[in-house]
Amino acid sequence: MSAPMKEMTQSLIDTEDEVMLRDAARGFLSESSPVSALRANRDAGRAYDPALWAEMAQMGWTGVLVPEVAGGADMGHRAAGILAEEMGRTLAASPYLSTAVIAASVLRQAGPGAQGALESIAAGEAIYALALDEGPKFAPKATAMQAEKHGNAFRLSGVKAFVADGATAGRVLVLARTSGSAGDDAGLTLFDIDASRAGLSREQLSTIDSRDHARLIFDGVEATGDDIIGDLDNGFAALRPGLQAGQAALAAELTGLAGGAAAITLGYLKERKQFDRTIGSFQALQHRAAHLWSEIEVTASAIANAGRVLDHTPEDAELAVSLAKARAAQTAKLAVSEAVQMHGGIGMTDAFDIGFFMKRARVGAEWLGDYGYHAAVIAAARGF
């Protein structure tokens, strides 16, 4: 296989540095952000814990994709994916994907003007949201929201339906139409604006994963040429690195989530007794667990590959990224369904953690493109 796959000289296994990063992340998150932390957040009605975010900043995670000149650690996409995977294992909630992955990847392509914004991301001070989807499915080219020209400025009006971290973010990357019509990829422009700007109102959504998702209503929000990222009418090109980085990291999170759900389930299978045996001794369940493990192994390869390709040949990343997201969405779905079923009744209770995995997996499956969206990208790239 040629283009979509990593180059021969790169390895798909973790380097020594990556192994250390993974171990450190796993140790930290299991201490500071176990699944019980998500439960506590939910019960307190908050989407994430700012203290956890501050610690992530201290460890350099918020700057994982920020260049060193802007105070970042610049560890690359494979590292960003490893962090996301580990966050997925414990369902650690934070604006990591929106801010440290998506916004950072967009802004680092945006020239010297973005240096300040990158600095504040690395420092853990800025929180970004990406305002993109206008309907129930991910379809960036279908963007219809208007940015009308008024003298030297633009006025943005329309609704962004589902914005991750949209209620808490201080800044919003918003894609709007400056020409053309819904369905064209040309004519879109990407703006970086303050969330407090006049005319922008936000409605917090109460989503199943207990994280921050909001509807953003733009009513004549003013933006100037200084707010544009990339070129006028070519916002899609400016957004693409952020989308691809976000899709790859979300896929990694989902794979970590699948692994976390599988590990909890395996533990239960080894402990729960029925018919005077541990249920994990029943071959029917052994084979289901083994099949799930196989699926996770196969998906993990696509995750590692997407990180490597984004780090080395980002211009060819489309297929690798879509492969990762398509596989991860399916694998996480399998993992959480099997997890609940193999737990029996207790799996259905709110008191038990596995339901949190199921709910986050459903949100992650939709956000930034579902299985069908990415499978279609792959089919097109492979010529059928």
């Binding site: 296989m1 196989s294 993990a300 590692a304």
Partner: protein, 392 residues
């Protein structure tokens, strides 16, 4: 570009040239059914001179066994080079010059467990395609429960005396030698009384009887051993420790079957069939969805083969996880062939039709998840050895 990348680019150019100059044009792009395979051996007849020419040239360059040491007729390539070689072969549509159980299975086991004399005697004959091997593992009472083999070898002082029966011995009637599991201690626990033995199929007392397959062909046999005398030096490794060799060899067999070792799985690509039936595919949303899913899983699986090889290369063995490659790869291959049959429609229903022998290939894939250990056995291995699930 790094030095390593440059070296590989140079290797790619060189090997591509070599293939172009040496593989007869008539062989390029020929569909590779089971009939196109060159197995070698004393009983082998080439279907045409091009096959012979191609094999001879490949032998000279060591390319029948790209990764084996040159002293045994291999090319001593690194894994990266081998992958490039296979990619270039595929790009040009060049068929593998030789396939055999010796290359796939016995060779790796001998390299690991054989003594110098055994390696020197047997490996070069494998790389030169002179001796064709078959695998004598399964017996009527020892399938999934392979360690239950009953064929026995008695120590007669200056030779072994072998009696018993094997079954499902692929190509036994065309093979020159057999590597077999035989019981050498009937009192020991069943895994501890088995030895790994090499036998010349021309030895008096060995007979074979072909069994016809659903795919119409008859490549496997019952194999009978009736007072067969076997020289003492034909025992590989330690007496009664043949199970270790058997398992080692099985991991190679499983990776080969799981990974689409060209001989058994056929090198047909879904895209080829899809391209020829494009209208049908686009019109049918179910087929289209199936094709997308199969492609997604195929790409992810091939990356997994890569990742596991990277892991092996880094000195961290793959171990029992090879059961996953066998399980996943064969189930995936069965899905691919179901998809191709569905796409081909009535064009795929003749034994030999517009898509060549697609139908018999499809039937043959059903064995992939049985031969070399069934899918259920692979899942057992994953559950017990990898996931350490309990017995009680």
């Amino acid at each position: 570009m790094s030095n390593a990348t440059e070296d590989l680019a140079a290797f790619r150019a060189e090997i591509s040239d070599w293939i172009k100059q040496n593989c007869p044009a008539a062989l390029l792009g020929r569909p590779m059914g089971e009939t196109g395979i060159v197995w070698g051996g004393r009983k082998w007849t080439f279907t045409d001179d091009n096959q012979r020419l191609w094999l001879d040239r490949a032998i000279t360059r060591g390319l029948t066994a790209p990764r084996w040491p040159t002293q045994y007729g291999g090319a001593g390539l690194t894994r990266a080079q081998e992958k490039i070689y296979r990619e270039e072969m595929q790009k040009l549509g060049a068929p593998p010059p030789l396939e055999s159980f010796g290359l796939w299975m016995l060779g790796p086991a001998l390299l690991e467990f054989g003594n110098d004399a055994q390696k020197a005697e047997h490996l070069p004959k494998i790389t030169r395609g002179e001796i064709r091997w078959c695998q004598g593992y399964s017996e009527p009472g020892a399938g999934s429960d392979l360690a239950n083999v009953q064929t026995r070898a008695e120590d007669m002082g200056d030779h072994w005396l072998v009696n018993g029966q094997k079954i499902w011995t692929s190509y036994a009637d065309q093979a020159d030698w057999i590597f077999a599991l035989v019981r050498t201690d009937r009192d020991a626990p069943k895994h501890r009384g088995i030895s790994f033995m090499l036998m010349d199929m021309d030895s008096p007392g060995i007979t074979t009887r072909p069994i016809r397959l659903i795919s119409g062909k008859s490549p496997f046999c019952e194999t009978f051993f009736d007072n067969v005398k076997v020289p003492k030096e034909n025992l590989v490794g330690e007496l009664n420790r043949g199970w270790d060799i058997a398992k080692y060899l099985l991991t190679h067999e499983r990776e080969m079957i799981g990974g689409g070792g060209q001989g058994l799985l056929g090198a047909r690509s879904v895209a080829q069939i899809l391209a020829s039936q494009e209208g049908a595919l686009l019109a049918d949303p179910v087929l289209r969805a199936d094709a997308m899913q199969t492609e997604v899983d195929t790409l992810a699986f091939s990356l997994t083969m890569e990742r596991y090889k990277d892991q092996a290369e880094a000195g961290r063995g793959v171990g029992n996880a090879s059961a996953m490659l066998k399980y996943y790869g064969t189930e995936l291959n069965k899905r691919r062939y179901e998809l191709m049959m569905a796409t081909a429609g009535s064009d795929g229903l003749e034994w030999e039709g517009p898509h060549g022998g697609l139908a018999p290939e499809w039937l043959r894939t059903k064995a992939n998840s049985i031969e070399g250990g069934t899918s259920e056995v692979m899942l057992d291995i994953i559950a017990k050895r990898v996931l350490e699930m309990p017995n009680t």
